[in-house]
Structures are given as C-alpha cells and as structure tokens.
C-alpha cells in the first residue's frame, strides 16, 4: 500500500520508536510518548498502530529471547524501515511548511 500521510498516533509511534534508539518495544515506546508529550495514549491504540504500520511496510520487528521478568515471554522490538523514514521526512516537511511564519512559536516567560 502506498501510504501518503500519517495520522496523529501513527506519527507519535514512529517518532517514539526512533526515540528509543534500538530499545523500542511496547513499554518503552508508550513511555517515550508519555514523557515527551505528556499525553496518555491508550495501550491498545499503540499496539494496534504498531501492527498496522508493520502491515503497511513502514516498520519491521523481531523477537528477543524469552525473558524471566516477562514470565518467559519474548519482547517484540520494532524498527523504522526506509519507507517509514521517508514518510516521516515528508510529514515533517509538510508540517514545517504549514507552521512556518505563523508566529505561533512557544513563548518562554
């Protein structure tokens, strides 16, 4: 599928994966979004978005070894693939173009 735009949660999830720098799985991605934006994203929404982006070819994933602290279950680590990176860059360009010269920069008191 040729995806041309990213939804709000999709954007946050992709950026969250990049923030986690190789340690990106459900827990850390959700935490990164919460810590950077202060938004409480729903757990199910994050996982469903990860699945969808993977099905759309924007993400890849691999399973770790089973871990005792997870009851013997493996982690699923995510990474952004090239099509995902391209879409991210296009999205950033588009937003910057829309935001520029509007005088809406964050005020620092």
């Amino acid at each position: 599928m040729n995806k041309e735009t990213l939804g709000d949660l999709e954007l946050l999830v992709l950026l969250g994966i990049l923030r986690c720098e190789g340690d990106a799985y459900g827990v850390t991605i959700t935490r990164a979004i919460r810590e950077r934006t202060g938004r409480e994203v729903t757990r199910a929404g994050v996982y469903v978005t990860l699945r969808r982006l993977e099905q759309q070819g924007l993400l890849g994933s691999h399973m770790s070894d089973p871990l005792p602290e997870r009851g013997g279950r493996a982690r699923r680590y995510y990474r952004v693939l090239e099509p995902g990176m391209q879409l991210l860059r296009r999205t950033r360009r588009d937003y910057q173009s829309m935001w520029s010269n509007l005088g809406l920069e964050e005020r620092t008191s």
């Binding site: 799985y25 199910a44 871990l67």
Partner: protein, 875 residues
C-alpha cells in the same frame, strides 16, 4: 496471587488476539514487576487490574471483536466506524423517538407499567430476603427455630430445652430469649399509648451492643422475680409521651395496669428483637408462663450455623423425656421472620411480573418490527454502502434502549411512590429491618430490566431486518415489508404474547382466588350483632383475683341494659386457632390424630353466639370450674375426620402434651358444635376441639347487644372498669370487623394479581390489534385486488378473523401448557395455593378469545372498506 491479579490476567488473555497475546502480556508483566518493586505488590496489582480492564474497553472501542478470532485484522482508522453507542447514534435515536410520538409513547407506557411493578416487587424481595440486622455483630445473630418434624408446625421453646441449651452448648457465645406482647402505656391524663413490647433476657439485650440514650440497660438483678419491675422505652415514645425529660428515667410509669420503674431509653433506631419500642427484663428459668418463648443467640468466634445446629440438636435429643419429633434449625436472625412461605410466594409473584414485562416487550418488539420493516429499503441501502450488520443491529438496539431507558426512569419514580406506600402499610406489623425502598441496588435492577426489555424488543426485529440476500432486499425495498419472514416473526411475537398472557392470567386468577378466599366464611352468626373486645389482665394480678373474672364478669355484662348475652373466649371465630396434637380413645384403640385446632372458650361463649349443639350438649358455666370433670366439645369437621361412627359423645381425648408436662388427663367429649372456621383462608373447615378455659391473662368478650354500637361499647367498658380498674379493654368492635385489616391487605393483593392478568390481556390485545392494523395497511393493494376481483366484505372480514384465530389457537395452546407447568411447580412450594381447575383455563381462554376477536374487528372492518381503485393507484 491476589484475586485482582488473577482476574486481570484472565481478562488480558480473553481480550487479546492470539498473535498479540505474548507480546502485550509480556509487556504488562514487565511493567507490573517494575511497579511492584517500586510501589509494592498491592499498588502494582491495582494498576494491572485497571490496565487490563482499560485494554478490554480500548480493544472493544477500536471495533476489534473480543471473542473468537485468532489474529488481528486491523480496520483502517475511520471516523465513520464509531463505537455503536456513539453520540450520533444516541442523537438519532432521540430524534426518531420524537418523530414518532405515538409509537414512542405506547412503547414507553407498556414498558414502564410492567417495569414499575417488577421494580416494586424486587424492592420488597430485597428488603425482606436480603435484610440485615443493623447491629455491630448483626451477621452473627441467629434464631433457633423448633419444628415438629411430623406436622411441620413451629413450636415455642420450652424451659427445659432452653435450660439444657444454656448449660450444654458452646457453639453460641450468647443464648438468649424473648417473647413479644402488646402493652399499653397509661398517661396521667387518662390517655394511653399502645406499645410494641418484648420481654427479653438481660444477656440478650446487652449482646446487641445497644447504648442507651439516657439511663442504663438491664442488669441481672432486674430479672430476679423479687426485683422491683423495671422497663426500657424507645426514644420515640420518650420524646412523644414524656417530653424527652431526662428526669423521667428513674421515675415510675404505668403499663397495662402495673407499675414499672423506667431505667433507660434506647435509641430511636433500635427495635430489637423485632419492632419493639418497650422492653421488660425476664428470666425464662424463673418465669411462670412460657407461652411464646423465642430463643436466639450469637455465634461464638469460629463457630458457624451448621455446627451450632448439630450441637443444639444433640442436646435436644439427649434430654430425658425428649420429644423425638422436635428438630432445631439455626437460622440467620432476619431470615426466621421472612419465612419460606414468603420467599416462595415472592418467587411466584416475580415470575409473573417478569412474564408481564416479557409480554410488554414483545408488544414493543412488534411495533419495532413494523418500524424496521418500513425502513427496510433504507437498511438495505446502508448495508450496500458498507455498514456492517452489527452496526445496524446496534443502532436499532440503541433506538429501543432510549425508549426502555425512558420507561425505566418513569418506572423508578412511580415504583418509589408505591414502595413508600408499602412501607407505611407494613410499618406496624413488619420487623424494623424490613424497609423496602428504591436504593441503588434497586435502580441497578431497573437498569437491568431496561436492558433485558431492550434485548427482547429489538434484537429479533433488528436481526430479521438485516438478514437475507442484499440484492433481493434492494430490489424489493419497502415491498419487503410484506415478505414471509417479517410475517413469521410478527406471528411468533404475537404467539409468545398470547401464550404468556394466557398463562399469566390463569395463574394470577388462581392466586387471586386463593387470596380472596381469605374472606370471612359465613358461619351462620350475625356478626354485626356481636360486640367483641380484648381484655388484658395485668401480669401482677394473682390467681385469686383472676379466677372470679371468668365467673363473674359474664353475669355483670349481661346485667347491662344493652347487652343481652355475653361470653368470654380466648379464640374468636374467623381467627386462626392454635394447634395441638391429640389422642382419641375410641374404646377399641387409642388413635393419634395429627395436630388440630384448639380453641379455649370461656363461660357463656356459645350462648352469646346463639349456638345450639349438633349432638350432645355445649359447654356450661360449671364446666369452667377448677373441680369440674374435664370435658370438651368438638366440631363437625372433627367428627367427619376422626369418628367413623358419627357419634363422638362419650369418647375421650387428651392432648399429647409437651416434654415438660405430665401427660394431661383424658377429657370426655360431651357434644358437637357446628364449624366456626378455625382456620380462615384455608379451603373447607378444619377439625377443632373446644376446651373450657379456666384461667387466663387475656380474653375476648363476645356480647350480643341491642341498640347503637357506641352505646353498647360504652356500657361494656364501664362494666369492666367497675369490675376491676386494672383490666385493660382494647379493640372494641363488632365481630365482622375482626381481622378486617389483614383481609383488606390480602384482598388488595388479590385484586392486584387480577389486575396483573388483565394488564397482560390488554397488552396482548393491543399487540394483536397493532400487528393486524399494520398487516392490513401493508396489504392494502392486495386487498384492493381481491375486492376488485369480486371478494365481498364478509370474505375479507372472514380472512382477517381467521388469521387472528389461527394465531390465537397456537398461542392459547402454549399458554395452557405454560399455566399447567406453573401449576405443577407451585404445588411443590411451601405455600398454600389453590390448584388450577379446568374451569379456570376455560374461562381464561374464553376471555382471551373474546378480547382477540374484539381487537381484530376494527382492522377487519377497515380492510373490508378498502376502495379498490384507491388501493390499486397507491404505490
């Protein structure tokens, strides 16, 4: 592992697709572990529980089905795929309800009436069956019920049994007793106030943890026979009658002719043991009379009711001369006062009320079916545009839910009024802890009813309207409304309504007949010409003062100008008489008879009622003397049941006796009196024995009088007061008014049940009318064609009525089967319910048939008046 954690993992495993389960469950376990180390496992468990429930809700809101899928197929994010219960759906549902005011009002009315009754019934059930004692350790309070295993009659606890339990038991931390009685507080200005009094053991009252508002509780010394009489009053009486004067504590008050020292005042909300407002101390082991003794206790720590029951039963059986027929049950305290009969009766009533709700919901379902059928074209187009079946079904569900929610809101408000009225009605007689009200639990029940009614009314029409080949549905459009599928579902709904209505009406009629049977049976006495009154002798009155009352008072009453004949008794006609077991010496054998009614007439009783003997003689004044030979009179029902020869005069009988008594002497049967209804409400007359009373603390006067009742009543009071001013006279009324309140209540319930059945019939008739009217309207073109081809009015009408009769026949058949099944089930319950007779079913079927034919008349006439030209022109 805590329960929360277990539940949380179960939810997680249930809601997640298989291919995501390991990943997400692993992440949750990892987070849980981190939180447990940082905040403790309780906090972590609480977080996990919330996270699991949140996950389930989120998965559902993302329209990901929670059941039966192995992998996640994620739908693209789309605003149009909103959760079914979105604001838009609700707005559309409200708008539709307002656009169709007649359908909405009809549906809301039908549902709210049936829901209102079900809610009121449930609040009674909730108040009675799930009531708790409002005491600090209320759940440990138990009631000890003695039952005769053969006759299944309850027996009062006796002194030897109570003593044996007190000395030998360990499963109960406290073993106590009480007996309730009426008493009258006499004020100085001649006014009096009725008290709901109880004699209670000292340990029984202190085990409740009650703290007096003023003064103190009883001490052990207060219960000594030689102690100065003391009492406690409730705060309400203290405020109302004694002006809330703290100095009243320590002063004396007059109660029922005796003088007591008021030692304390108990809080207004304290009414233990039942619904008391006055308490007197007593010690059963030092009391003269043990009538009406009721034992209760508090479970010892670590003990339970089962263990207590086993222990008390073994103590009972180990007693010397114990009655092996007796069995003890250890019941939760509040349960002992509701009775198995009440639970069974309320179960029957609740089933009837649910059936009524089902009839109402089926009615609404028919209306919704008609509405969705009219929208079938729209529904087909929406399906073609991609709307999943589930979302259309959900939308119809929401449309009906709006109506049901409105009905539930109205029902809760009206039920609140009904329940408030019931609360006032039963306040005097019911235990204090029974306070029916519409509380959050009852409101939750109302919400559940709304959901159930919505499901019944919406799912079948919704599923029907979204079924079938889409092409055909698009091509047929509104023509689909006349399709066979819609007709079959409509028929099924009408069958169901008729079946339930027939069953409901039959059962309600039989139950109502049973309750209405609690009318006073005409026993051939001119009840309006007999004045009655209850006389209460003070407990302090000794035997020397009491004995002459029975002898002299009758003569003094008959000397009054307006009183022709007078008598005394301990049991009035048309009032339930107690039961005892007897042996009959029929010369060849001594025969044990099951427990039968026993009445204790005093001097002049039979004469005052103008009764003559059927055989032998009736009791004479001399039969009541202490030294008189022991004699009895029996009634006709006794002769029919136990004297095959038909002549009981000369036979002997004696009471089987109680474990603490020597076997009573044989008494000779000297005569037979006609049946005087010793067990009002039960069909037929029951065997009874009349034993002359010699000495009692309470009597009823029966006085045949002339002239105005008020004058005769005044004379009666005057004679009694002149005989002994300590005797309390109450409830002066004519014999026909005795038991009037309870009969009125029962009559009201019986009338209510009959109204229930009538309501069911009315709803069914409305349903038949609605579906016929709809059918005629939809088949207008077809009818027009028939008329154009030569069919006359009679033919059209016959066709409509035949259609109705067919539906009726099937529905009535099922209804009769349901009614008979119900009859079999109620026969197994511990309540006396008349059995269904063939004539009951015939009457019900006839009523239903007549009503249905009436309901089909207007649509039939309308069909017959269809103008062919107009019908054929209409699209």
């Amino acid at each position: 592992m805590s329960a929360r954690r277990r539940i949380a993992w179960a939810v997680v495993r249930f809601v997640l697709p298989r291919d995501m389960r390991d990943e997400i469950e692993g992440d949750l376990r990892e987070e849980h572990g981190t939180r447990a180390r940082a905040e403790g496992s309780s906090s972590a468990d609480r977080w996990l529980f919330r996270a699991a429930l949140g996950l389930a809700a989120q998965m559902a809101s993302l329209r990901i089905p929670l059941v039966g899928r192995s992998s996640l197929r994620v739908p693209p994010l789309s605003p149009s795929r909103a959760w079914p219960l979105s604001l838009t759906d609700l707005k559309l549902a409200f708008r539709l309800a307002l656009r169709q005011p007649v359908l909405s009002a009809t549906s809301i009315a039908a549902l709210s009436v049936s829901m209102c009754l079900a809610i009121a019934g449930f609040s009674m059930v909730d108040a009675v069956l799930f009531a708790k004692l409002s005491l600090p350790n209320g759940e440990d309070f138990v009631y000890l019920r003695l039952t005769d295993r053969e006759s299944r009659q309850q027996r009062s606890t006796t002194v030897p049994i109570f003593r044996a339990w007190t000395e030998g038991g360990s499963a109960l931390e406290t073993l106590a007793a009480f007996r309730t009685r009426q008493a009258t507080l006499l004020m100085g200005d001649g006014l009096s106030r009725e008290l709901k009094a109880a004699d209670v053991t000292v340990n029984g009252l202190s085990s409740t943890g009650a703290a007096p508002v003023v003064g103190r509780l009883f001490t052990a010394e207060d219960a000594f026979p030689s102690a100065s009489p003391t009492m406690l009053l409730g705060e309400g009486i203290w405020r109302e009658q004694l002006g809330a004067d703290p100095e009243a504590v320590g002063r004396t008050v007059r109660v029922s002719g005796d003088v007591y020292t008021l030692v304390g005042v108990l809080p207004a909300d304290f009414a233990f043991p039942v619904n008391q407002d006055a308490w007197f101390p007593f010690d059963p082991l030092n009391s003269d009379s043990m009538k009406g003794l009721q034992a209760f206790g508090v479970l010892a720590p670590g003990s339970d009711r089962g263990a207590a029951e086993v222990e008390l039963q073994s103590i009972l059986e180990a007693q010397r001369d114990s009655d092996q027929r007796l069995a003890v049950e250890v019941l939760p305290y509040t349960r002992a006062f509701s009775g198995r009969g009440f639970a069974a009766f309320m179960t029957v009533v609740m089933v009837l009320l649910f059936a009524l709700l089902a009839v109402a919901a089926a009615n609404v379902a028919n209306l919704i079916l008609a509405r969705t059928a009219a929208r079938s074209g729209e529904i087909a187009v929406r399906t073609a545009l991609g709307a999943p079946r589930a979302s259309i079904v959900c939308q119809i569900f929401v449309e009906v839910l709006v109506l049901a929610a409105g009905a539930a809101a109205i029902a809760v408000v009206v039920a609140g009024r009904i329940v408030a009225w019931l609360r006032v009605l039963i306040a005097d007689a019911a235990p204090a802890w029974i306070e029916p009200r519409v509380d959050p639990g009852v409101v939750a029940f109302a919400a559940l009813l709304a959901l159930v009614a919505t499901a019944i009314a919406s799912l079948a029409p919704a599923l029907r309207s979204t079924r079938g080949d889409l092409d055909r549905r698009l091509r047929r459009g509104t023509a689909f409304t006349t399709g066979p599928g819609v007709g079959r579902l409509a028929d099924a709904l009408v069958f169901g309504q008729i079946a339930l209505s027939v069953a409901l009406l039959a059962v309600a009629a039989v139950l109502g007949r049973g309750l209405l049977g609690y009318q006073a049976v005409d026993v051939g006495i001119a009840e309006r010409e007999i004045l009655t009154a209850s006389l209460h002798l003070p407990a302090s009155m000794d035997t020397d003062d009491r004995e002459p009352i029975a002898r002299d008072l009758v003569d003094e009453l008959e000397a009054a100008p307006r009183i022709r004949r007078a008598g005394l008794t301990r049991t009035l006609p048309n009032r339930d008489a107690g039961r005892e077991g007897f042996e009959v010496d029929a010369s060849e054998e001594i025969r044990r008879v099951p427990d039968i009614h026993v009445a204790y007439p005093g001097p002049g009783f039979f004469d005052s009622l103008d009764l003559t003997p059927v055989q032998g003689r009736l009791l004479r004044p001399s039969d009541h003397d202490d030294q008189a030979p022991p004699v009895v009179v029996v009634n006709e029902a006794f002769v029919r049941a136990y004297v095959p020869s038909g002549d009981p005069v000369g036979l002997r009988l004696r009471s089987v006796g109680r474990p603490d008594e020597d076997l009573p002497a044989w008494k000779e049967i000297v005569g037979v009196v006609r049946d005087l209804d010793l067990s009002p409400g039960l069909p037929g007359q029951e065997p009874g024995v009349y034993i002359p009373t010699r000495d009692s603390n309470t009597y009823f006067v029966t006085a045949r009088f002339d002239g105005p009742v008020a004058e005769a009543a005044r004379e009666l009071r005057q004679v009694v007061a002149e005989h002994d001013g300590r005797i309390l006279v109450r409830d002066v009324q004519t014999l026909d008014r005795v038991g009037w309140e309870s009969r009125t209540l029962l009559r009201s319930v019986g009338t209510g049940l009959a109204a229930l059945g009538a309501m069911a019939v009315a709803l069914s008739v409305a349903g038949i009318y609605a579906i016929l009217a709809f059918s005629v309207e939809r088949r207008r073109r077809e009818i027009g064609v028939r008329v154009a081809l030569g069919a006359g009015s009679a033919t059209i009408i016959r066709a409509i009525v035949t259609m109705t009769a067919r539906r009726l026949a099937v529905g009535v058949t099922f209804g009769i089967a349901l009614a008979l099944l119900f009859d079999r089930v109620t026969a197994l319950l511990p309540i006396d319910v008349p059995r269904m007779a063939p004539v009951d079913l015939l009457l019900v079927c006839g009523l239903m048939l007549g009503a249905a034919v009436g309901a089909s008349w207007i649509p039939a006439r309308r069909a017959a008046s269809v103008e062919p030209a107009e019908a054929l022109r209409a699209t």
